[in-house]
Symmetry: C2
Subunit: 488 residues, 2 copies
């Protein structure tokens, strides 16, 4: 049996190629939207891709199912309950699909979504029983799928179904079954995923927090608490995956745009494009187009964070430092459903300036500077500057600057009106990346004096500056986990 795991850093998506070298055919399960990797691996093993599976309708990334089908002629298999609106073979609980010497057996496991199925894989050259389980977004390494991505209304029912799936549906399966999940650390689809990308049913039964004995009600309460933020484009991506993701074809390279062309787009009659500046925080601060949003493409969470702020159907113009960043950003955006990247500004900010168009710069503060502006020598908050901490709740709870205001980055667009736009505002996160996004957002909202604190709380703490933990959080500390993804 040929078996290959594909891990997509950042989104944390995991997909699989499973093939039979004796008959020269293979399946891809949960393909990402850019499918060249599967084609290359299949070719290197001399395999033809004949089957494409999705374990469920994804909410965090656009499936590559139709893209891959268009390139290979393979058949798409989806859970029947997904009611997908494009050509596919519906799969029901208990269905078996055989590919050469390999059989995939569908097990309906609702919980993350109502239609979710796992695939138990049998290699007939090894034995007649399942060797491993592809668990999609149902069972992760050290975690299970979150039940809230379909909305508050469905959350409790899905959590209830998750209990049944975990404790009743899996009960007949052997401890010695390997488990290969659909996500690893970095993904927004769970809460505490491990960075290791496989496990066994036996080990998870013993050590996965979700599989510990709890009453159904306790389980539902536990599963629906402490959920990380979700990007605004989740319903859009879900809808795209149900309707059928548009096929991009081999080349979806961003177009080079002159400064005149970008200016005309911004002034024109059509929908105003978002200006997405994907350079590093330092490059951005040195000079940017007013109104631009800074989300560095070098960060693994690039696509997820763009999803917090840019409506999915809005056209996008990229500002890049190097041409390769335009390709990388376009590919990453396509994976989460942004298909309207118009292009990138050739020669970037320099071209913009050369045309006599306005640019701005952002103040960069060191932790030292922030210390002197924001706190007295005794460590008491000074009134002259607002410190906005945009880290996630779990990070904030570990300790923050005295007098700082906590607004997680994901909530900043909605909650910016809690802040005074005329007051000097210093934005801080763990290391200066998320705070650059936040600073760009605030200046675009009309804030007059914004500074990004480079080095962030890591630099602040390394310098030994004052940190406080709120009384409530001291009490909660022992029971609340960290979200490793959020601090990346």
């Amino acid at each position: 049996m040929v078996f290959r795991q594909f891990f997509l850093e950042g989104l944390g998506c995991i997909s699989y190629l499973i093939g039979c070298s004796q008959t020269g055919v293979c399946a891809v399960v949960d393909p990402q939207r850019d499918v060249d990797g599967y084609l290359q691996v299949a070719q290197s093993y001399g395999l033809r891709i004949t089957h494409i599976f999705d374990t469920h309708l994804h909410a965090d990334h656009v499936s590559g199912n139709r893209e891959l089908a268009a390139r290979t002629g393979a058949t798409i298999y989806l859970p029947a309950q997904a009611r997908a609106a494009f050509k596919h073979q519906p799969v029901h609980d208990g269905d078996e699909v055989t590919i050469g010497t390999v059989t995939l057996l569908a097990i309906h496991t609702p919980g993350h979504t109502p239609e979710h199925m796992c695939l138990a894989v049998i290699d007939h050259t090894r034995g007649p029983e399942p060797w491993f389980l592809l668990t999609g977004d149902f069972l992760f390494v050290g975690d299970v799928g979150r039940p809230d991505l379909l909305g508050e209304a469905e959350m409790r029912q899905l959590a209830d179904q998750m209990h049944t799936s975990l404790f009743d549906r899996l009960s007949a399966l052997d401890d010695g079954l390997e488990v290969f999940p659909g996500h690893g650390a970095g993904s927004l689809c769970g809460r505490h995923m491990n960075a290791k990308l496989s496990t066994t049913l036996g080990f998870e039964r013993r050590f996965n927090p979700a599989l510990q004995p709890r009453s159904r009600q306790e389980f539902i309460a536990w599963l629906t608490q402490d959920l990380p933020p979700q990007p605004a484009n989740v319903p859009y991506i879900k809808q795209l995956n149900r309707q059928g993701p548009p096929i991009l074809g081999e080349l979806y390279r961003p177009k080079p745009l002159t400064a005149q062309a970008v200016r005309d787009l911004l002034r024109g009659q059509g929908p105003t494009p978002a200006i997405l500046d994907v350079r590093s925080p330092a490059e951005f601060a040195a000079g940017y187009m007013p109104g631009a949003l800074n989300v560095p493409v070098s960060n693994g969470q690039f696509a997820t964070r763009a999803g917090w702020f840019i409506p999915p159907e809005r056209p996008i113009v990229l500002i890049v430092g190097r041409e390769a960043e335009a390709d990388r950003a376009t590919r990453a955006l396509a994976r989460v459903g942004y298909d309207r990247v118009i292009g990138y500004l050739v020669n970037g900010i320099a071209a913009w300036r050369a045309l006599g168009l306005p640019t701005a710069s952002l103040a960069l503060w060191t932790p030292e500077r922030l210390r002197s502006e924001a706190l007295t020598r005794q460590g008491e908050p000074l009134p002259g500057v607002t410190v906005v901490d945009v880290r996630d709740r779990s990070e904030w709870q570990q300790g923050h600057i005295p007098g700082a205001v906590h607004i997680p980055l994901a909530e900043l667009a909605q909650r910016a009106d809690e802040l005074n736009p005329f007051r000097p505002t210093a934005v801080i996160c763990a290391n200066g990346t998320r705070s650059s996004t936040a600073a760009s957002l605030l200046t675009a909202c009309g804030f007059k004096h914004v500074a990004n604190v480079m080095g962030g709380m890591e630099g602040w703490e390394a310098a030994g500056y004052p940190v406080v933990i709120d009384a409530d959080d001291q009490r909660d500390m022992s029971s609340i986990g960290r979200h490793p993804s959020s601090s990346w």
Copy 2:
């Protein structure tokens, strides 16, 4: 926990990086000799490599332990029984080594070698008990380590120890333990490895042929039969790994050599270098240096096959088609202990010819040509040509050309005297790669009329030409497995 598996195609070696992101440290287990991959991955996770383990003294490839230690300052851990002659920390059965939140627990499992140990890995962030087992060359996916690489004398005792290791030493361990082996398909260290690179103890207990109930005597008989050929350099590599592999440093690029320089090397007082032509069979046949051995570097088994014919300490001059092939070949040869690659001939055969030095060409036959030369219209062998089939025994047993002589490639250097060097000789394998090596060997031995059959038995069978199965093999067919590695 950070966990990454590295698979080296061809040699089929698997190594691992296991780290703790909380404390920023990691270990590498069974490193291959070119260590850049580990350094890159460690850096990408922000980890420092502090520990290096070998599960045993490898016989098929040179360990990267000292190379990696030289680059990182990490400590080398080896089984105490290995009695390695260089600086290391000896590990005994039951020893625990803790790296941040990860503990590696040594379990002595002799069988492939006397000193072999497995490492059970505990991730303390998940639970206090082992999550998975690094099984080195002890337990493979669908196979166990072969017991004969230390020689005939030790084979039965090792097979006996393998029985104890498999059935007694592992008995306390849980079915739900994941198993990550030191080799996958392509490796010479086992007989029937699967192409999938992980499994579980529970699944192997149920479906691994080696773990099925047998008396100790039956087990020993079973484990010591039907073993694939081993390269002549196995004892040399073993010795290198015991003495301490030489450190190559970052750059071990082959030197460009002029035709004059190569001629002087061949005529000089020093040891005569082997001429290793790594081009494709077609390129080789069109023109080669007399005496050259053709082992195409594009083939995954390149390094293993070179090991069948070239003494490990002999200097080597490479003939390449493109410069990149020289780098690739040098790296692949270093992995199996050939540290004396002098360089490669710049401009290849053309430069050799330009100097007025002799070249030769090799006849390429199609299956059609072979059909007409070797068999009557009725399919009876003709006396005019010797057909030498150099495939492995298991391939030969599936069917061969009537009247062909079977000498597996690995045995050809020893058994060439069974053939008449003055008689026209056509060499065939599965597809024309191994037969090109064989043809180059025979011409170097003085055979006058040698042809390589392009397309090999695959082309022969596709054309519907006669194939016979020997009576003995028809009887044996059901009980004998194929060696997937050998037909690559």
